[in-house]
């Protein structure tokens, strides 16, 4: 069954067709990679999914429900979490507080007035934060201000924040961009481990090593249009993909 179904989505900025009749479906429990050259519309597509921008037409169906036009926080509450290309974390707050906010949002919903209970009394949530921070090796730094972390740690923190919400679909925008090889491999292992828990993932990635290590399905986007969709083996040998990437450079 497909968890996310994008059909006939168009988005035009001025005269530029950023998304041109995009059809894509992400099956439940799979890792789906979206690849394509720069400017192919990959990030625009993610923005259309999470409600950051509204497509001109077409439908985005998540879990059987059309989510086009819903507010970003409603889409997240429905079960879609996104890791951004540049980590979006709460830079002035401690790692622990960074974790508490998504955990509270997951437990209490989009808005709950709770101005009296101390957040250090929320033992359940603290346990959960401990669990998810352990996954990314950040529990030891829980009182560090998040803005002072290294770029890699910021990414891991953001990932832990997204995972703590128990998402049905996790969107990752270039999770290894700018990482050293060793760090990249660690991240691949971590993502594999997450995938093995049955969390559906859609990944935008330039690094083919990452893509072929993780993805079960791949969609290739070029000039706002999905030109091919298939298994990694099919994509590797597809001539249209080579064409899209600078007229046949080695993929």
């Amino acid at each position: 069954m497909s968890l996310l179904e994008i059909s006939g989505v168009n988005k035009t900025f001025g005269g530029l067709k950023a998304l041109d009749d995009v059809n894509l479906s992400v099956r439940e429990g799979t890792v789906h990679a979206i690849i394509g050259p720069n400017g192919a519309g990959k990030s625009t597509l993610l923005n259309a999914i999470i409600g950051k921008l509204i497509p001109d037409n077409g439908t985005v169906t998540f879990n059987g429900e059309d989510i086009v036009g819903h507010k970003p926080h409603e889409i997240n509450q429905a079960g879609i979490s996104r890791v951004f290309q540049t980590p979006e974390i709460f830079g002035e707050l401690s790692i622990m507080e960074n974790m508490m906010i998504p955990l509270l949002a997951h437990r209490d919903g989009a808005f709950k007035m709770n101005p009296w209970k101390r957040s250090d009394d929320e033992a359940d949530l603290i346990d959960k934060a401990h669990h998810f921070l352990d996954d990314v090796n950040l529990w030891g730094k829980k009182d560090t201000i998040a803005g002072s972390l290294s770029r890699g740690d910021k990414r891991r923190l953001e990932l832990a924040m997204c995972l703590s919400q128990d998402p049905k679909l996790l969107l990752l925008d270039e999770p290894t961009a700018g990482m050293a090889r060793a760090d990249t491999n660690n991240t691949i292992d971590l993502l594999k481990q997450i995938a093995s828990r049955g969390i559906t993932m859609a990944i935008i990635e330039h690094d083919m090593h990452v893509v072929f290590s993780l993805a079960e399905r791949i969609s290739v986007l070029a000039q706002g249009h999905v030109i091919v969709e298939g298994t990694p083996e099919e994509i590797k040998v597809d001539p249209k993909v080579r064409e899209a990437y600078l007229g046949g450079a080695e993929v």
Binding site: I50, K52, K71, P72, H73, E74, N76, Q77, S81, R82, E88, I89, F90, G91, E92, L93, S94, E97, M100, I101, P102, L104, A105, H106, D108, G109, A110, F111, M113, N114, P115, W116, K117, R118, S119, D120, D121, E122, D143, M161, Q165
Partner: protein, 372 residues
């Protein structure tokens, strides 16, 4: 150094805060500031700044119109004095309620925008309220004269009591605010400040407080974390508006009249200065900032050339005139100059305000034992 806030540390902080505030009549003695009028100003404006900090310091929304809520609180309180009772408790509760409703309306409009546009909207609406108070709202505000008590006010709930001649005084269940040479009024205000401070500590440490800081730090992340930021920001706005209304009500409780000048934009700007001077986002900073600014406004402005001449009397004759001449620029009417210079120095060297200065000193002392 462990900087994590715990319940124990917070309770200790509130206790120390209470002790310092309540003992003001003693330790302000050497500063020449231990008279009730000024101490009331310290605590009332401290309360205003504590509330303002919930919006500005925690949530990151800089309002330039918070004095409007002071005005609304004052007017509402004086009306209760006039119509129903001179007891301050119902009057203050009503003042806080009305300013809360007013804040809900203003906040609903202004929070459609963030950053500088939000600030300008609050400024515009507050100036509008100020001008309305002088013009079309005269039946409610009594325009330029200000809203005052008069002998023939109904005071419906007090009618049963035997009234002496003259306008009765504001009281706390029979205890007049001016009792103990005005100190009783100060202690009532001080108790309210301590309560207000405790509430702000609880808000800061709660999950609601986390949400407010999340909004300040990264609104985009909040949204994509499934949080509806608008009602959180609006709640912070209303809470801080109610604090401002409470401050306005207390002003009316110790001195039962209300004038539109309290709502002017300079008063709104003053609380911004207080918060920045003391330390934005810190718990105690805004209270300190309020005290420093009110101290300058009342003490430095009262220093005149003869006081200066006394101060420099140890110098030879020729020099006295020069020193007095130069110093006179900074005191009396020139107190704004001193305040301005101090504000510049703090912003440039201590962006975290007075609290950052205190933290630096603390750290310097705390580090020494570790090095040994």
């Amino acid at each position: 150094m462990n900087t994590v806030a715990t319940k124990k540390k917070d309770n200790l902080m509130v206790l120390i805060f209470a002790a310092v505030v309540l003992s003001m009549p003693v330790w302000l003695q050497p500063f020449g500031a231990a008279y009730p009028d000024l101490m009331q100003k310290f605590v009332i404006f401290g309360l205003f700044a504590v509330g303002f900090n919930i919006l500005f310091g925690q949530t990151g929304y800089l309002s330039f119109g918070h004095a409007a809520f002071i005005g609304v609180g004052s007017y509402a309180t004086v009306w209760v004095f006039k119509l129903y009772t001179m007891n301050i408790v119902p009057a203050i509760l009503f003042g806080v309620l009305v300013s809360g409703v007013f804040a809900l309306v203003i906040g609903f409009i202004c929070l459609r925008r963030t950053g500088i546009y939000f600030s300008i909207l609050t400024l515009a609406l507050a100036q509008m309220s100020y001008n309305l108070a002088y013009s079309v709202l005269t039946p409610i505000t009594n325009g330029e004269t200000g809203l005052q008590l008069s002998l023939d006010d109904p005071r419906a709930w007090d009618a049963a009591q035997v009234q002496g001649e003259g306008i009765p005084a504001t009281n706390f269940f029979g205890m007049e605010m001016s009792a103990w040479d005005g100190l009783f009024g100060f202690y009532v205000c001080a108790a309210v400040l301590i309560l207000g401070f405790y509430i702000s500590v609880r808000i800061t440490r709660s999950s609601f407080g986390s949400m407010l800081r999340g909004i300040k730090t990264n609104q985009q992340r909040m949204t994509y974390t499934g949080l509806n930021t608008r009602p959180y920001a609006l709640s912070a706005f209303v809470i801080s508006g109610m604090y401002a209304g409470l401050a306005g009500s207390l002003m009316a409780a110790v001195d039962p009249l209300a004038g539109a000048e309290r709502m002017q934009w300079t008063a709104s700007g003053e609380v911004v200065l207080m918060t920045i001077l003391g330390g934005v986002g810190t718990l105690i900073g805004p209270v300190l900032g309020a005290a420093v600014i009110k101290y300058f406004e009342n003490i430095f402005s009262a220093i005149n050339t003869s006081v200066l001449a006394d101060f420099y009397s140890f110098l030879p004759d020729g020099l006295i005139d020069i020193f007095v001449g130069v110093s006179a620029l900074f005191v009396g009417k020139g107190w704004h100059l001193t305040l301005g210079l101090m504000f510049m120095l703090v912003v440039i060297f201590l962006p975290g305000g007075i609290m950052e200065g205190i933290d630096r000193i603390k750290n310097r002392f705390a580090k020494k034992p570790q090095q040994d």
